[in-house]
């Protein structure tokens, strides 16, 4: 069959029945597709996207700003893949959405925010338009060595390098790892973006460049094991780089911390706090890492871990995935994913909303501000909680 646009999985797009299971978590408590929840049109749901992509491939609708917004409002949270009832093709849903975006990129018909993101990446190597030399500033004063054959590379990524909330988290994680004796080095000002968001936003060529550069550098430095701050980087390194010849042992920092706690290399004092944990999509649904952060939190004496109504495979995304952290296609408002998620956290009665992703940290902190509930809840990364609870 001839289609108007090239897509690798074009031949299965018509198989979506748009039954809508993909909109929900497994127990149907609320809509779990962030863009559908925010926009409220079926066109912004996974089934809607599938049907519109088919219409677009068949030239029944044209490329438009609206169509681009519909595609780019997807936060790539993988809830649809998790919940779709069609076992024979559900795993390809995220690929189909990404391929459609790639086709828009190739046609040059993408939302201006996405275009700006790519321009920043091409010119500056990061979305913040900041100099490459400043990439390592987050580590100032911590005494973390440059990588030179240590056991692990500690990779922080763009958000950890440049964003204020991300830097704070990178410093928490990096210094703690160092303090407990984990042999690690950093790349500092020579670190290159992992490209996860570039890929999901559809810039396949730029992603390939970034990935190849990272793989080259990692191999040159004889890096074999990587600890990532950001689950988005974990995803790129663990799931995509191997397809490009980059095979590394990749861990999220919570996995390393959980091991250290298990080995009793981190000891805790009593830390009485009621805490709820937000599963980052790229840690949870994309990479099935649910236990490690919980294991850490549960090992802290006095800390009470309470779950949000939607957790683990059913967690509701903060809205930052799929590049929305940078492009903000979904936008603010009462039904923005971060605000919805913060309300869910508030419902638990927790005083701390624990996070394990710098993008989630920022999104949820903003959501908390939007709700005006900063007095009731604090967004804190898992490493900072460990630091607070750690026996001196």
């Amino acid at each position: 069959m001839e289609y108007a646009h090239a897509m690798e999985h074009a031949e299965i797009v018509h198989r979506c029945f748009r039954c809508g299971y993909c909109k929900f978590p497994s127990d149907y408590v609320d809509f779990n597709c962030p863009s559908y929840k925010a926009f409220g049109w079926d066109t912004y749901s996974p089934g809607g996207r599938m049907w519109l992509i088919r219409a677009w491939l068949n030239d029944e609708i044209k490329t438009s700003a609206r169509f681009a917004e519909i595609l780019y409002s997807c936060v790539a949270c993988d809830n649809c893949k998790e919940q779709c009832v069609f076992l024979r093709f559900k795993d390809y849903l995220p690929d189909i959405f990404r391929e459609a975006k790639t086709a828009l990129v190739n046609d040059g018909k993408i939302p201006p925010q996405v275009s700006d993101y790519f321009k920043a990446m091409i010119v500056h190597g990061n979305p913040y338009r900041l100099p490459q030399e400043e990439r390592g500033k987050w580590a100032a004063g911590l005494g973390l060595p440059e990588f030179s054959g240590q056991d692990y590379l500690f990779y922080v990524g763009c958000v950890g390098s440049y964003d204020e909330a991300g830097q704070k988290m990178a410093r928490s994680v990096g210094s703690l790892l160092s303090e407990v004796g984990v042999s690690l080095g950093i790349l500092g000002s020579v670190e290159t973006c992992d490209g996860n968001e570039v890929r999901v936003l559809g810039e396949a060529g730029l992603f390939a460049q970034l990935a190849e550069e990272n793989i080259r550098q990692f191999k040159e430095l004889k890096i074999t094991k990587i600890i990532t701050l950001d689950p988005h980087a974990l995803n790129a390194f663990k799931r995509v780089y191997p397809t490009l010849g980059g095979d590394f042992e990749v861990f999220h920092f919570t996995e390393i911390f959980a091991g250290l706690v298990r080995e009793q290399r981190i000891a805790f004092s009593k830390y009485p706090a009621k805490v709820t944990f937000h599963d980052p999509c790229y840690l949870g649904r994309h990479n099935q890492i649910y236990a490690a952060p919980r294991e850490i939190l549960k090992s802290i004496p006095g800390l009470e871990l309470v779950e949000m109504r939607r957790n683990r495979e059913n967690a509701f995304c903060c809205g930052g995935g799929g590049g929305n952290f940078f492009t903000d296609i979904i936008g603010p408002g009462e039904e923005s994913p971060a605000r919805v998620r913060v309300r869910e956290a508030l419902d638990t009665g927790a005083e701390i909303l624990a996070v394990a992703c710098p993008q989630c940290a920022k999104m949820l902190a903003d959501g908390l501000k939007g709700e005006g509930k900063e007095e009731e809840l604090e967004v804190v990364d898992v490493a900072e909680i460990v630091r607070r609870a750690r026996s001196k």
């Binding site: 029945f17 039954c19 029944e60 438009s64 009832v85």
Partner: protein, 460 residues
Amino acid sequence: MSDILQSLVEIVGERGVSNRPEELWFYSRDPGVLAPHLPDYVVAPKTTEQVQRVVQLANREGIPIVPMGNGMALTGLVIPLKGGIVMDMKRMNKILEVNEKARYAVVEGGTSQGVLKAYLQDHHPRLRHSLPDAPPTTTIAANVALHGQGRLTQQYGFNSDMVTGLEVVLPTGDVCRIGSPSIGPYWFSKGPTLPDLSGLFLGWLGTTGILTKVGLKLYPNKKLREVELFVTDRVELVPEILYRLTHLEMLEDINVWFQPVPLVFKDNFHITIYFTGDTEEEIEFKRKMVWDALQEFIDSKDGGFMAVEPMKEMLLEMPQRGIAAFADVPKGGGFEYSGPITLIEHFPQYAAKVVELAAKYWVLYASSARIISGGHSMMFSISFAFNRVDPDMMARVKAALDEATAFALEMGGIPWKPNFMEQQMTLEKMDPNTRNLLLMIKKQLDPRGIMNPGNWEPAR
């Protein structure tokens, strides 16, 4: 911007109305085999007042208006046959009240089945509603508006029988409460002892008004659920088997299904028997009663209980996700079914017809009948899967479904959620005085003919 669009924006806000090609394309169709037709606008209200104002505008301007839940009836009931406004009700999704002791819930007109199920589990675990096996995104209002069925239909009748009150926006824009909420604050009766005005809206497929609130009966949620699967290859015995099971007056649900693939199911009729209890003792008692009721068929070697363990999780799932998955059997994203309501004693004839139609039109079938109200009738589904990129296959499925409906009418059955052509066939078959009454009521309620036009209209 046109005056109409401007007016709609003033009512529902910019994010509540669209005339963009993407929404117009999507809301012009459903997942079934009927041809699409573009609306002019799609609106998504959040309040009864917004619904009312949109209807007033539509009535004033003579614009067709089509209420929509999740659009999963599959028979084109939300296709705007004459253009106009499609009203997506799903933003009106609040659960307004649960009266635990009186066992009813009041929900907004776009509340989904899944959300009510989860809400009851969280907040009223002793209660449940009659959940259909349709996807959880389907709405309660749409389900009762087309006389849907659910998991408790065997015990308590059609889901529309479980309505305890309605709030309806009439085609003129007036807002009416139906039943006990028209008298006081409680939603415990849709009609009795008043004249039952709910009959003006239930079964009318959105042609007489828009349901903005629904009161719904809730039922005891027993702690335990169990299932048995009885199998026979003698179709003529199915009515008697069902008669004996319904005689027990203790079963939650009874479904009879048969399908040619996978081969393990071919040529057999599977009777899924659900029962509930609060204790193991109660469950085991009911299991014994079920087995005793069918012992004679086992002794005569006409049937037996199939080992249910491998399928138990799937059978007990609510809703059953596997039903939607039937759409991908021909790797094509679609299925549609005719589901006439008919007598259980006609099961063998209907079963033969399914097989005949599948062979004649060279399509894949699956059939599942649900017993209604203790055996007074059944919904017999004649389902055909199709591949959406195969127009010829879709045409064959449509022809098979048309023939199935004609057959059902010949047999004295009533088509369930009929498409507009099946409605015409039904009106033609109907007693003329009854037909005139129906059309007169419709005309009285909707003098300008704006509500879901093309439906419940005789052929010209």
